[in-house]
């Protein structure tokens, strides 16, 4: 069995094979692979005995379920009003400089993807961002730089 087949089968064993398991399974795939590939969706369709298009329809509805490959660390900067008012654009500029990517892109080493997202529910501490599940608030360009440095160092020591 291919890796993705095993992954999806494992998730289906864990969450069940009914429609209610669809989101948990898709979330599980994203947790492992950052995105849901075509192959993964076909496997999900097979496990749940639904059409692949239905899996696609559900997956594309949710902004945290990506269908294109993303980096190991997905940075989502809140673009909603109060974060915007408090300097979200400067934060993004700094991230673009530090990571050498534009918004929506992934770094060449496949480590970081820079995205914008809708309200993170941290409006009193904006600008805010998530790196994978972890929230970072009251961001400034300086703070952002040191957060990214921390992740980069973590990656280096992991290797």
């Amino acid at each position: 069995m291919t890796e993705v087949k095993l992954l999806v089968k494992g998730l289906a064993d864990q969450h069940g094979r009914t429609m209610e398991s669809l989101l948990p399974i898709l979330q599980g795939i994203v947790h492992q692979q950052q995105h849901i590939s075509e192959d993964a969706m076909v496997e999900v369709a097979r496990e749940l005995d639904i059409s692949a298009a239905q899996v696609y329809g559900t997956a594309t509805f949710y902004s945290f379920l990506h269908t294109k490959p993303l980096g190991k660390y997905v940075i989502r900067v809140c673009k909603t009003i109060t974060c915007m008012m408090h300097g979200k654009n400067q934060v993004i500029q700094e991230l673009e400089t530090v990571l050498k990517v534009k918004l929506g892109e992934t770094t060449h080493d496949g480590k970081f993807t820079l995205l914008e997202t809708n309200c993170l529910g941290q409006c009193h501490k904006g600008p805010a961002m998530l790196i994978n599940d972890e929230p970072y608030t009251e961001l400034t360009p300086e703070k952002v730089r040191s957060i990214i440095m921390k992740y980069k160092q973590q990656e280096i020591s992991a290797n």
Partner: protein, 596 residues
């Protein structure tokens, strides 16, 4: 609690069954409420909002299609608030729709166009959204064209594909401004599990889903001096073509259709019904052959139940969804393809026409037939057996283009050799018809007697119930069929692929023990096919069905094996059912396709 609810619509009192919707209540008193996403065949979506009405005392408007009636309700369908809101909705829909009406295939037949003319959507509309979206047209499929720029997101197609056909090749993807009707990963329809049944085309209110048309190719062939054009007409076309030309639903127009085809310039006007009779001989014999192998020879390699193979939507469905059951599908080609293979061999030879110069055209109630004709297996004559497939709708368009006043045409007869047919062939157009035709022949072959049903009408397999079962006890058989003595032949008929799926699951799970299954991909069978006149509804399909069975009764010959031209064909050309020539020209094989 009373099961009736009393309410007022536009100050008219109406009493209706509890649980009914406002729309149904309004229909009852002939108050028309405009709808778009609503379709009788489908579940209520309530998403287009064009059907909103005002309830006294309620600030917000209510969707008539989705809102149940309640006691004492006062509904206004034509208040200023309602009119203003509806106009806004129409204007919004027009703004996201490529309103290139004069260039549109559905011009004059578009429900949005009708509404925008009714609500006088003028020049001062909203900003055109189409310009802001990178729309593409998917025209890779030989059957269906999908043009997203004309889609108004009513989701009728999605519900059709899911509920009626249980395929879900189409889905809704993304959300907000990006929300669209999409296939898996937005791949071309040609590459996904689409069966080309065209039921989505039948229900699309705009030009977002249409059949791929081959009118130009056919006109070119008709106008060519060197080409001999052979046209065949499917059973269900003759009872529906009139609808598309302004005649009442359920009018039988066989003779006028033949006249019109001659006027259009087809060299030979022949009948798919002829090969429908032939299909019965081949498929009926296949059934008997399999029964013999299974019952008498205890041959475990031969599969039962046997399923029909005339519906190309069904064939592609089983190739995708139940490939392990492909050996159960009759190897007999569909009547269209049997016709095509014979046209460019037997018939060309008779007429002394070089098959290379023959253009074989079929008129079908079906969009999947376009795909079927394109299958690589369908070249047993050495040429493409059927060159072009036109739908009933396309033929109607040709007749209009030619300036023919259809209603005043005289009745005419098909050309001979491949134009004669029995009543058994006509009923191929209705769900259960193939089964009935096969039983009329097979029973007689085995027992030497006619089927034991009054007037040859095997009513248990008729009707519009989604899945119908019938058991026929075979008794007092002819000596060579002694192994069938006392056997109860179990048959099943299903129409609509969601019902086909249920039947096949029952077979797979060992819950059903059939010998022979007839499946038609479309609701009602071919009479409700994806190439038939729009609109479609249960009532329309019922009328078409009545016309088909009426046509059967009018036929002097009611049984396929009594068709003299078929008998002659065997004597002269095929020699015997399931014989060598048949094998080469009239039988085919199937291909497993991707399940998802």
């Amino acid at each position: 609690m009373s099961d009736k609810v009393n309410l007022k619509i536009d100050n008219i009192a109406v009493s209706i069954k509890n649980g009914s919707t406002i729309l149904e209540a309004a229909e009852k008193i002939n108050v028309r409420i405009p709808t778009l996403c609503y379709h009788e065949d489908l579940c209520v979506a309530g998403n287009c909002r064009i059907c909103v009405v005002e309830q006294t005392g309620s600030d917000r408007l209510l969707p008539a299609c989705a809102m149940p009636v309640s006691e004492g309700m006062e509904i206004h369908t034509n208040s200023m608030k309602v009119r203003n809101a509806r106009k806004q909705i129409v204007e919004l829909l027009v703004s996201e729709h490529r309103a290139d009406c004069t260039r549109c295939y559905k011009n004059g037949k578009c429900e949005l166009q009708e509404l925008s003319s009714e609500y006088i959507v003028g020049e001062n509309g909203f900003i055109d959204l189409v310009a802001h979206k990178g729309y593409t047209i998917d025209n890779f499929s030989p059957s269906i064209i999908k043009d997203d720029s004309k889609c108004i997101r009513c989701q009728r197609c999605v519900r059709t594909c899911d509920q009626l056909q249980s395929i879900s090749a189409l889905t809704v993807a993304h959300k907000g401004e990006s929300m669209k009707v999409s296939s898996f990963f937005d791949k071309p329809m040609f590459e996904v599990v689409c069966t080309n049944c065209g039921q989505c085309v039948n229900r699309c209110p705009t030009g977002a889903l249409t059949e791929k048309t081959y009118l130009d190719e056919v006109w070119t062939a008709l106008n060519s001096e060197t080409k001999h054009t052979v046209v065949q007409t499917a059973p269900a076309v003759r009872i529906a073509l009139g609808e598309a030309l302004g005649m009442p639903v359920g009018e039988i127009v066989t003779g006028k259709m033949v006249s019109a085809l001659r006027r259009l310039g087809f060299s030979s006007v022949l009948d798919t019904d002829f090969t429908a009779d032939l299909t019965i001989i081949e498929e009926g014999n296949e059934l008997l052959h399999r029964l013999k192998k299974v019952v008498k020879d205890k041959d475990t390699t031969v599969r039962l139940p046997l399923t029909t193979s005339c519906s190309p939507g069904w064939v592609k469905f089983i190739e995708h969804a139940f490939p392990e059951y492909l050996p159960n599908v009759s190897t007999a080609k569909s009547p269209q393809q049997m016709f095509g293979a014979l046209a460019k061999t037997f018939y060309a030879n008779k007429l002394k026409v070089d098959p290379e110069n023959m253009v074989s055209i079929s008129i079908m109630p079906c969009t999947a037939k376009k795909y079927e004709a394109d299958r690589p297996e369908m070249r047993s004559s050495g040429f493409k057996d059927v060159d072009y497939v036109l739908t009933t709708r396309e033929l109607a368009l040709m007749i209009k283009q030619a300036g023919i006043d259809f209603a005043s045409l005289p009745d005419d007869e098909y050309d001979s050799i491949m134009g004669e047919s029995s009543g058994a062939a006509v009923i191929f157009g209705a769900t259960g018809g193939v089964m009935e035709a096969a039983l009329r022949t097979a029973y007689e072959v085995v027992t030497g007697r006619e089927v034991p049903f009054e007037g040859l009408n095997i009513t248990p397999v008729r009707g519009m119930d989604y899945i119908r079962e019938a058991t026929i006890k075979i008794e007092n058989v002819l000596p060579e069929w002694d192994f069938l003595e006392g056997v109860e032949l179990k048959t099943c008929v299903a129409h609509g692929l969601s019902n086909a799926k249920k039947v096949m699951e029952a077979v797979r799970d060992g819950k059903a023990n059939y010998h022979f299954i007839e499946i038609m991909a479309c609701p009602g069978g071919c009479l409700g096919g994806g190439g038939q006149p729009i609109p479609t509804s249960p009532a329309i399909r019922k009328k078409r069905s009545e016309a088909i069975y009426h046509e059967d009764e009018l036929k002097p010959i009611r049984k396929s094996h009594e068709n003299p031209e078929v008998i002659h064909l065997y004597e002269e050309f095929l020699k015997e059912p399931l014989g060598e020539v048949s094998h080469k020209l009239l039988h085919t094989h199937y291909t497993e396709r991707n399940r998802y």
